[in-house]
Amino acid sequence: MATAGETGTGATGLGKAMEAVRRPYVIVFLMLALITVFELQVPTRFAEMGLQKSQQIAILVATAAAKAALVALYYMHLRYEPLVLKYVPLVPLGLMAILVLTLVL
């Protein structure tokens, strides 16, 4: 039985509602490892198969975003946090997109 503390919500009262939630830490770890193995094939095996540079970049950006989302949602518990806290890291991400586009384009 999970404790209130385990839910990461402390004394918020949300703890009881989260007690039944099983956190897939091992599955997330295996997914991270598998995606990393896949990433390693992109500049080597996939490139030898004729994958264009732009396609390699698109694939690697997508896999990195997927891995980051897994860590943020499950290991940093954003999935279980109140909605307002989920917006805190999203604000600089929007600024980051503007900055990177401004610098590169």
């Binding site: 999970a2 385990e6 990433e39 290991y75 109140p82 806290l85 805190v88 990177v100 590169v104």
Partner: protein, 277 residues
């Protein structure tokens, strides 16, 4: 007693916040240190001294068992469901996202304007296989960190201590491999942090490749090293006494964990950008 009140949800909103002066001293020390880099360099000694005093005072206060505020929701308004310390860590992480965005964005801009950039696996001096090992270690350290949190939340002291120690050791291994790689790149490959007019083996023009590489991986490595100090302190407390962290009071473990996972996320982006693309 204070925690009991907090966990019972009886604390009045806005009460029970930290009263320590040391975080402010740390901030002033960091400000002086960074300010010295763009104003008067000898000022860095004063900055580092103030920073060290701040960290020392903070740790001493913590070691005496003085609680900083309380765990649980204390913020009024829209953040009332969030612990004030957790909110502080997330705002810090938000500022760090902007910090790394500037560094990665600048590096991408340098790359976009470069006439030549090495291709991974073809003519790049970077070792993909060695860094892949490092990547797996950092991912594994995130897993062990979350296991440590699970252990303390469930009162499983063995899991908590073992996973926390494993996280620290994996972090040390990551930094050690990075130092090894830096040594090889600097003294064998002659890849420097400044402009590389020539790349010795084949005279290929590398330009700002080294600048971008060392700037991105160096700042990340510095953040990992800072995280190791946090993990080291948690380990000391966890292994010295059984009751420092309990299922009812362990927010420090969660907050250091948040920082550690963030450092992992930065590497998740840096690895393909620096080594694979």
């Amino acid at each position: 007693m204070e925690d009991a009140h907090a966990n019972a949800g009886e604390a009045p909103i806005g009460k029970g916040h930290a009263t320590s002066i040391w975080p402010a001293v740390v901030a002033v020390g960091l400000g002086l240190t960074l300010g010295s880099l763009i104003t008067w360099f000898p000022l860095i000694a004063v900055g580092l001294a103030v920073f060290g005093a701040g960290i020392g005072g903070w740790l001493l206060q913590d070691a005496r068992g003085i609680r900083f505020g309380r765990e649980g929701p204390t913020e009024p308004g829209i953040f009332r469901l969030v612990s004030s310390r957790k909110l502080g860590m997330w705002i810090f992480i938000a500022s760090e996202i902007m910090f790394f965005s500037a560094i990665i964005g600048t590096s991408l801009a340098l790359r976009a304007r470069a006439s030549y950039w090495p291709t991974p696996g073809v003519d790049s001096p970077l070792d993909i296989n060695l860094t892949a090992v490092n990547t797996f270690m950092l991912i594994t350290s995130s897993f062990t960190m979350v296991q440590a949190l699970k252990g303390v939340q469930r009162g499983n002291l063995r899991l908590f201590r073992g996973a926390l120690l494993a996280t620290l050791l994996l972090g040390i291994a990551f930094v050690s491999i990075q130092v090894f790689e830096y040594n090889r790149l600097l003294f064998v490959e002659h890849l420097t942090p400044w402009m590389n007019p020539t790349y010795l083996p084949d005279k290929t023009y590398l330009g700002t490749f080294g600048t971008a590489f060392y700037m991105q991986t160096g700042f990340h490595g510095a953040h990992v090293t800072a995280g190791l100090f946090g993990l080291g302190y948690l380990n000391v407390k966890a292994w010295r006494r059984k009751d420092w962290f309990t299922p009812q009071s362990h927010e420090a473990v969660e907050l250091v964990g948040l920082y550690w996972h963030f450092v992992d996320i930065v590497w998740i982006f840096l690895f393909p950008i620096v080594y694979l693309i």
